[in-house]
Amino acid sequence: MAADSDPESEVFEITDFTTASEWERFISRVEEVLNEWKLIGETSNKPPEKGEYTSGVWEEKGDEILFADFRFSIRHHYLVQEAGEREETEDTGEDSIPVCMQDLLCTNNDFPPVAHCLVRWYGLREFVVISPAANDAVISESKCNLLLSSVSIALGNTGCQVPLFIQVHQKWRKLYVGECQGPGVRTDFEMVHLRKVPNQYTHLSGLLDIFKSKIGCPLTALPPVNIAIRFTYILQDWQQYFWPQQPPDLDALIGGEIGGLEIGKLPFGACEDPICELHLATTWPCLTEGIIVDNDVYSDLDPLQAPQWSVRVRKADNPQCMLGDFVSEFFRLCRRKESTDELLGKSTFEENGKEVADISQALSKLTEPAPVPIHKLSVTSMVHSARKKIRKHRGADESPLNNDVLNAILFFLFPDAKSLDGSEAKASTSTGNISSQSESEDYNLYSQLKSAPSDSLTYKLALCLCMVNFYHGGVKGVAHLWQEFVLEMRYRWENNFLIPGLANGSPDLKCCLLHQKLQMLNCCLERKKGRDEGKKGSPSSSEAAANRTPSDTLSPGEANKYEVAKSWDSWSDSEDEFFECHSDTEELKEGSQESARKAKEETKENPLPKPEGRLHQSGNLTLLRTGEPLYIPVTQEPAPMTEDLLEEQSEVLAKLGTSAEGAHLRARMQSACLLSDMESFKAANPGCCLEDFVRWYSPRDYIEEEVMDEKGNKIVKGELSPRMKIPNNMWVEAWETAKPIPARRQRRLFDDTKEAEKVLHYLAVQKPADLTRHLLPCVIHAALLKLKEEEAAEDVPSGRKAIKQIISHSSKVLRFPSPDDKKLEDVIGQMLNVEATIARARSLKAKFAVDRCEKSDEKEDLEKFVSSLLEQPEVPIVGAGRGPAGTIIHKMFVSAQRALSLAPLEEEPKRPSSSDERRQTGTDFPSPAGREVILRSSVPRPAPYSKLLPQRMYSVLTKDDFRLAGAFSSDTSFF
């Protein structure tokens, strides 16, 4: 390390010896960094404003430097100030001292609530720290001195006026030494850190003694010492204060409430107090020596009399919050691999075996041509028997969910079953209620999150599974409930009961896949019912016309009415492979026409067969050949699709490639619908031609022109567009093959039986983990709504902002089919944070009894105070100990002290040292947990004729930590 140990120095050459050794290289590296950061020269900044250290922005820059192979990190911390112009030292007068030295005396920013420790201790606005990069430490004294010398040289060489610190000893001790140099002046930063407090330093007079002796003032009349003192008191015992959150009663089961939680509601709040400590800082910002007495026998420092009070709260680190737990517990299910059967154990295996038999039986019923004899059953008895059937396979003792809970949940999910049970079917069920929901922002949240509407069955199911998972048997309970749910779905399919709580129409691709699947099942049910009713020619079939409306509008509630008996009658007809279209207004008009139907099958010789399947007349259009009015036929609706089906289909289409043949094949594959429409059209309009069809179907492909005939009369002449005239084009081809068959006797475009079975199978194979993934968006949706609701009750601005962010974040995460687990965890974590924030607000409001405050203006102040406690690190109290908030805090301390003195003294008081006991100012407050003192003075050093220079000493005393941080400046001009 020393220069003479370097072999290079032996060589007889012209060498730059200044950078020959590691030490010199280190110094020049430090200089380089200081230059790079432009810390050379002098700044002419104003002294910092009051509180600027807290309100302003602090920044830092970092770099790494090496001393031999020992790595140091060098960091520059600074307050961003507007006019931060650094000029070269030329025009400055001799008496100017570096701004950082001036800061030592500035009282505007004592005790900043959040700051680097060096800022708190020395009041600096800017400094550079060199500390060991790794977890190393510079321990030995000689090494410390070596580093300090390097710093000194670097500062001297560069003319940098920013204080430069070295961190020594173990990092946790936060022990720094440093130096600041200006023209003709130097400040040494020194520090003492002790575990045991020497008795004489626990009070002001002792500290003054040490300060004075350190300065070693050469003057006989010592300039006055400015003193700032802060005592911090900690309140930990909140017992007297009512904590508003009641733990849920896990055993209770009353009415609709399970586990103290109503079904379909989410729990909320922290299980423990999310505010664990209150720190009261009492400050005497400006005292002078002699005004007060504070020594080992007596003290004037009564916290109640302190001119400034400020409070901060310490929040519990990770308070257990119920909503957060609820959701994360559910999310944890994603990682369970077990299938429903595995979870429900052997006994249910057998049952499942039977179930499979049931399914195959159901299928054979559907496929066998012979009608299956089924008795006419009343609705009620069917519901009961189905329930019984479900129950009897499993003893009550072995099932994870007990019957009461299960029944309550099932009735919650299927409110229609209840009314059916009471054997009087109510017209409106929850399906009908959906339309009345407001188009509010909250309601539409589902399309952002890809969940499901908040009043839908899917959403409710998600909540129930979540609750079952949390309170009733975990993953097994989930498996059990799911199994019941799937059974219910099959039951409804087989018995033509529409599923409640789902919007009508084809699956909403904005919702989660599971919701789409359920909607699909309902579509199948509707078609099946419609077909049954159409067969019967029942008058109620007209209501099914509502189904033609697009998916976003909703049919009246009565569409959901159970018409079981009818369906059961016609159930056996469902093997019929022909499609019966629901809405035959024409059929209503014309009544029976079975005879005509027969006669028309072989129509070739019959020039104009009887029209069939008419919906209504199309304006004034008439058929070109016959002059008969043109009728729009009843047509088959295209097949509803869930997103996975759609994906499958478009993949098939895409696989055909982009060649002409591929395109042709694609068109052919999609022509079923066109052909079906053409057939319906032909059936409704006997004697029609392609031109007639085109005029209805694609009007722009029929071009009309006014022409003059021989007699000069204007007549309208029309013809097909050129593209329709392309020989052998798809349309012509289809037209030629189309036979006049009304929609209800065509082959079904949508095989509802098959699709329903596919859905039911899909549902049956979902594992609890899959379910969780399907339903997590709904749970997140519900949790967000809950947070919004709770936030609105408490009015926490930061919470409101955070909720908005979570919504936008989670909508990004949930948009993709299988979101990243890590991101989902983030979302859940963010929700937990908001929950904790709201719980804290609630806790603080209870503690400061905001609600019980009578005077409205005081109440307002208190509310403001409470909300700033949450959002700011430290809040000053208006009126200190005498203000309304101060009075409450005082009372809290008094009652905590009283409780302590009443309590049996099992534990020793926190600080049993004799001096503390003596110095306690009455019993209102405990002994301070922290005492901070800043002593400041301007004293010429080292000689009486030296410049008047800032001197400062900071001391902090806590339970087992004592620190003195001194900054002593001296004039270097003549020394």
Partner: protein, 220 residues
């Protein structure tokens, strides 16, 4: 298709597929405004006065280079007839961009633009980008919709606007390239703010695995 594109906004599929990103684009608009011609002009640089009226939905592929990235465009051409609305709107959700087309010689097709735009809002993904195109601008003699009206409507709807001609090859390439640029801009925006799109691209197997239930064994 839906997941192959919409799920991966900026999809970085396996490099062997010869592209860095794949965008799905839909061309919509009334019947016989020239959607198919427009697409053929762009993808094959060909023009035929009459294409068979599209049945259902059809597509073409074109790969272009943009900012040193190979972007594969899968452009879906839809049938414009009213009757096909339900079928075609199902495809909206997977599209990242739309070309909404009308025929400048046909008032009705222009009046329907508002309607189409509502359909996009209802069925598409919120971030989907839309361009309004007035086609057949070569037929100046038969023009009934002035470009000013087109521009105003586009502004009102918040779309960018082009007048184009598939026949004379005016603004066809520009339209598609502009749309691609807008999608790219939007993409980098959403990548900046939060990056779910990037990792969302790594589509986990869980859901999709179960999404295809074994149809064979369900006895239908």
């Amino acid at each position: 298709m839906a997941s192959a594109t919409d799920s991966r906004y900026g999809q970085k599929e396996s490099s062997d597929q010869n592209f860095d990103y794949m965008f799905k684009i839909l061309i919509i608009g009334n019947s016989s405004v020239g959607k198919t011609s427009f697409l053929f002009r762009y993808a094959d640089d060909s023009f035929t006065p009459a294409f068979v009226s599209t049945v259902g939905i059809d597509f073409k592929v074109k790969t272009i280079y943009r900012n040193d990235k190979r972007i594969k465009l899968q452009i879906w051409d839809t049938a414009g007839q009213e009757r096909y609305r339900t079928i075609t709107t199902a495809y909206y959700r997977g599209a990242m961009g739309f070309i909404l087309m009308y025929d400048i010689t046909n008032e009705e097709s222009f009046n329907a633009v508002q309607d189409w735009s509502t359909q996009i809002k209802t069925y598409s993904w919120d971030n989907a980008q839309v361009l309004l195109v007035g086609n057949k601008c070569d037929m100046e003699d038969e023009r009934v919709v002035s470009s000013e009206r087109g521009r105003q409507l586009a502004e009102h709807l918040g779309f960018e606007f082009f007048e184009a001609s598939a026949k004379d090859n005016i603004n066809v390439k520009q339209t598609f390239e502009r749309l691609v640029d807008i999608i790219c801009e939007k993409m980098s925006e959403s990548l900046d703010t939060a990056d779910p799109a990037v990792t969302g691209a790594k589509q986990g197997p869980q859901l999709t695995d179960q999404q295809a239930p074994p149809h064979q064994d369900c006895a239908c």
